[in-house]
């Protein structure tokens, strides 16, 4: 590889166009990576960042455009070709085999290994790489036993193991605490100092400004511009990203919380593998407030939502809704008790993809009048209800007979929101409600949740987007390993470092003390 030459072009993509059935994900996009640089790829959800990188990694074939690696034009028909060309990618959802060990994952698809695996040599190489880049892992651990942060290290090592000199990191910090993210940046700096080129996909402005040398902005699948980070500002980047002056101010009235609506008392529950996921958690959400739940993914947030919605067995403790004990009640009873759950997994849990809009619209009320009478479904009523939802929540669709699998993420979420919020419910659980949505849809969802709060709803908001939580929540609880590390009143004014420490398992008092400020506890 020789000495790092900062101006050397490692990869060049020209006029890349990629269409999926009906949608153009990339339209004549240009992109390149030089040796020794961090090139950030910035854009909203759905702007086409991941698609562009999947083209680079050989997962998708572009409909047109050229790809040049090391000065030669290439065409990748599978990731194998990209790997051979020295390109590595760390996906947002890591491409790891949960049941296998770290070292087994390391050598997946690596060329030139003998058929009988030389375990000793593999271990040695993992050892060497993890020391060089500060990525400590136990080669014999199984992936499912590792935390998300450790899994990410494995995923990066996986790419270094196969000598990738261009590394694509797809939203790597979304799953990390601020401190873990800082450690990751150290690794990235080590790599660029050795002449690797790193592509950093993100929509977090601060990280992009802090880490990258150049930034390319995509908007709605098109290339908006490429700029040197040193010569630009956050505001300019934001404007290029959204296409207009960013008005990221949420109009929020002062909350006037009333009595508690959702109450969890020392709740314990297990995850799908039978290990404790919620460990004696106590919290309450009051009438007319939004309680945010922060935390690194996989610390029991999903299980908490499911436990409240009655979809997961509570091992011990109590859950009260509006004063009534609904612990381990039938989900139907909990729905009738006023709990409205907006799950993160829209197509997997919240909706039935192959059924149409009207059939999906009654999923949570099909046993109630007027849509159902004496055991029969009154389709006339269903249609009028569905039409009403579609127009009130501006779901754009050809008709109410369209299968929901054909709707975009934003429209899916609007439909679900309409179904859950249309009769001003008391208790609302929203899990990652803006995940994967564009700015307009995000704004719409946030406004709807605030509106539900303003008419007296108690909203439990789980999100991985700390900015969203800080802007939306009236109080913020931080979860770690199934416990609440503390509930922060007035989260918008709380120091980020303290929240970061809490996300890593420090109790609130201690976290605020070491962050140098005083916090008020609930």
């Amino acid at each position: 590889m020789g000495t790092p030459d900062p101006s050397r072009l490692l990869v060049r993509m020209e006029k890349i166009t990629k269409r999926f059935a009906g949608v153009t994900a990339n339209q004549e996009v240009d992109f390149d990576v030089r040796a020794g640089e961090v090139h950030a790829l910035l854009g909203e959800n759905g702007a086409g960042k991941s698609t562009l990188m999947s083209v680079l990694y050989g997962l998708y074939r572009p409909d047109s455009g050229t790809l040049t690696v090391g000065g030669r034009e290439v065409s990748f028909s599978s990731p194998r070709d990209a790997i051979t060309a020295g390109i590595g990618m760390v996906h947002q959802h890591f491409m790891l085999i949960p049941s296998q060990t770290v070292w087994e994952n390391m050598i997946l698809g690596v060329d030139g290994l003998p058929s009988v695996l030389p375990k000793r040599a593999i271990h040695d190489r993992i050892e060497e790489l993890s020391q060089r880049y500060g990525l400590a892992v136990d080669p014999d651990a199984r992936i499912w036993q590792l935390s998300i942060g450790e899994q990410q290290r494995v995923a990066i090592l996986q790419m270094l193991y196969r000598r990738a000199n261009i590394l694509v990191l797809d939203e790597p910090t979304a799953v990390l605490t601020p401190q873990e993210a800082e450690r990751l940046f150290e690794t990235v700096r080590q790599m660029t100092s050795e002449g690797h080129g790193v592509v950093f996909i993100s929509h977090k402005m601060a990280e992009v400004m802090g880490l990258s040398n150049r930034v390319t902005i995509l908007r709605k699948g098109r290339h908006v511009g490429t700029v040197d980070t040193a010569s630009t500002t956050k505001e300019k980047l934001a404007e290029m990203m959204v296409g207009q002056k960013m008005v990221f101010k949420i109009e929020k009235k002062i909350s006037s919380p009333g009595r508690p609506i959702i109450e969890c008392e020392s709740v314990r529950a297990l995850n799908d593998r039978g290990f404790p996921a919620i460990a004696g958690l106590t919290l309450s959400v009051r009438e007319g407030e939004i309680l945010g739940i922060a935390g690194v993914a996989g610390n029991g947030q999903a299980e908490l939502c499911e436990a409240i919605a009655g979809l997961r067995r509570v091992e011990s403790g109590r859950i009260l809704i509006n004063g009534a004990d609904l612990t381990n009640s039938l989900p139907k009873k909990i729905i009738d008790g006023g709990v409205h759950y907006i799950p993160a997994d829209r197509k997997g849990t919240g909706l039935v993809p192959n059924m149409n809009i009207s059939e999906n619209s009654i999923l949570k009320r099909y046993w109630n009048k007027p849509v159902s009478k004496r055991g029969f479904i009154v389709w006339r009523e269903v249609f009028s209800f569905a039409r009403d939802l579609v127009s009130r929540y501006s779901v754009s669709t050809p008709s109410i007979g369209t299968p929901v699998r054909n709707l975009s993420g934003g429209n899916l979420q609007k439909l679900m929101l309409g179904r859950e919020l249309s009769d001003s419910p008391k208790a609302i659980i929203a899990a990652h409600p803006t995940w994967g949505l564009d700015v307009a849809a995000t704004k719409f969802v946030r406004e709807q949740l605030l509106a539900a709060r303003d008419v007296g709803g108690a909203v439990l908001l789980v999100s991985e987007d700390l900015d969203e939580l800080l802007a939306m929540s009236d109080r913020l609880a931080v979860m770690f390993k199934g416990e609440v590390m503390g509930v922060i009143e007035n989260p918008a004014g709380a120091p980020i470092e303290a929240i970061g420490l809490m996300m890593a398992g420090t109790r609130m008092e201690e976290a605020f003390a070491s962050a140098g400020k005083e916090g008020r506890s609930a």
Binding site: E73, D81, I335, V352, E359, L363, K364, F376
Partner: protein, 368 residues
């Protein structure tokens, strides 16, 4: 310039395509079947013409086809109901046998000399027998997630052995000269036959059931629940539907229908339990349900079509000395081609000319 095939998911399937695909699948399967028969040393032309002549050639042939279509339709409805909920009831064969055993027991132990009462008893008992037999597998599936494909299948073998136990043992007709069969039922326990053919009153049930279940699945709350649970069990739980309860219930009803089909076959047609009682209706019904795309009314049509094959295969056995199970070749092929056809319903294939996207010599080498 480079041509390549590109597979894309279809967003919508047109009605014409929806009708054409099963028809084309069927035709291709028969064509493929002809090739196979040829290589197996059987003249396909002779085989097919024998099948058609035997089953559709005259009024008697058609009536025989209807006789086969009766249990097929009923059992296919049973299969359809379970499949709608994405439960694989492969055990209808055993449920048919259990229904027949129960009906025979009714005749043997609580005979009433009144046709209506007798039928009410036989109907209820055979339904319960078949239903419970299926509900066992349903319960295991619901409670402990035991693979229902294997349990229902194993229960088939158990049921058939159970059946054999009775006809070889305690219920054997002492006057049968050692043949494994029970005595012939008295007339009161036989279904009416029409027009001097073997078409029996089960026909009414076979025509009624699809309509009933069409209404149930389309227009009732329970039907809606079943469909949601089949499409997305997680969403069903999210909506507060009880998967466990409904798996058992659906399996019970599915098994009950198959059991009643066994009763009709017994009392309408054969009049006694004897070896080889059901010629694989439980398996053939799976094809019927799939070919009809789980549509209750389509099932009537497809049952008739497969009735043609079944009647034909019995004639083939006599005329061309082919084993009874040889028609399974055609059935298997039909199923293969229906599966293949599904692909064209879900995906579209486009021929793409590689405009602007050139490949390097290296990549071309890699690509073959």
């Amino acid at each position: 310039m480079r041509l390549s095939l590109k597979v894309e998911p279809r967003l919508e399937t047109s009605r014409l395509l929806g009708l054409m695909i099963p028809v084309l699948s069927l035709v291709s399967a028969l064509a493929m079947g002809a090739v196979f028969l040829h290589f197996m040393g059987v003249s396909p032309a002779k085989a097919y013409s024998t099948i058609v002549r035997a089953s559709l050639g005259d009024a008697y042939g058609i009536s025989e086809t209807i006789v086969k279509a009766i249990p097929l339709t009923m059992v296919a409805i049973a299969v359809m109901l379970a499949f709608t909920m994405l439960i694989w009831n492969i055990g209808c064969e055993g449920q048919i046998f259990m229904g027949a055993i129960a009906a025979a027991a009714a005749v043997r132990y609580c005979f009433v000399d009144n046709r209506l009462v007798m039928f009410a008893i036989m109907f209820v008992l055979s339904g319960i027998a078949g239903g419970v037999w299926a509900a066992i597998a349903g319960f295991f599936r619901a409670k402990w997630n035991v693979n229902e494909i294997i349990t229902t299948l194993m229960l088939n073998y158990v049921a058939i052995n159970f059946f054999n136990y009775f006809i070889y043992g305690p219920w054997r007709d002492p006057t049968s000269l050692g043949f494994p069969m029970t005595p012939l039922f008295p007339d009161t326990a036989r279904l009416t036959c029409y027009c001097g053919t073997r078409v029996h009153a089960g026909l009414i049930l076979a025509l009624l059931l699809p309509l009933v279940f069409w209404v149930v699945l389309r227009f009732t709350r329970w039907g809606y629940e079943i469909r949601v649970m089949g499409e997305n069990p997680k969403a069903a739980g999210f909506a507060g539907m009880s998967y466990v309860k409904n798996v058992v219930l659906v399996m019970f009803i599915s098994g009950a229908i198959a059991g009643v089909a066994g009763m009709c076959e017994l009392s309408g047609l054969q009049g006694r339990l004897q070896a080889g009682f059901s010629g694989g209706y439980g398996y053939t019904a799976i094809i019927v349900a799939w070919l009809a795309r789980l549509h209750p009314v389509g099932i009537i049509l497809v049952s008739f079509l497969l009735g043609v094959l079944l009647v034909g295969s019995e004639t083939l056995q006599i005329v061309m000395r082919l084993p009874v199970s040889s028609m399974l070749v055609l059935q298997g092929l039909i199923l293969f081609f229906v599966l293949g056809g599904e692909f064209f319903r879900k995906f579209r294939i486009r021929i793409v000319t590689g405009g602007g996207h050139r490949a390097s010599p290296e990549a071309l080498k890699e690509g073959e």
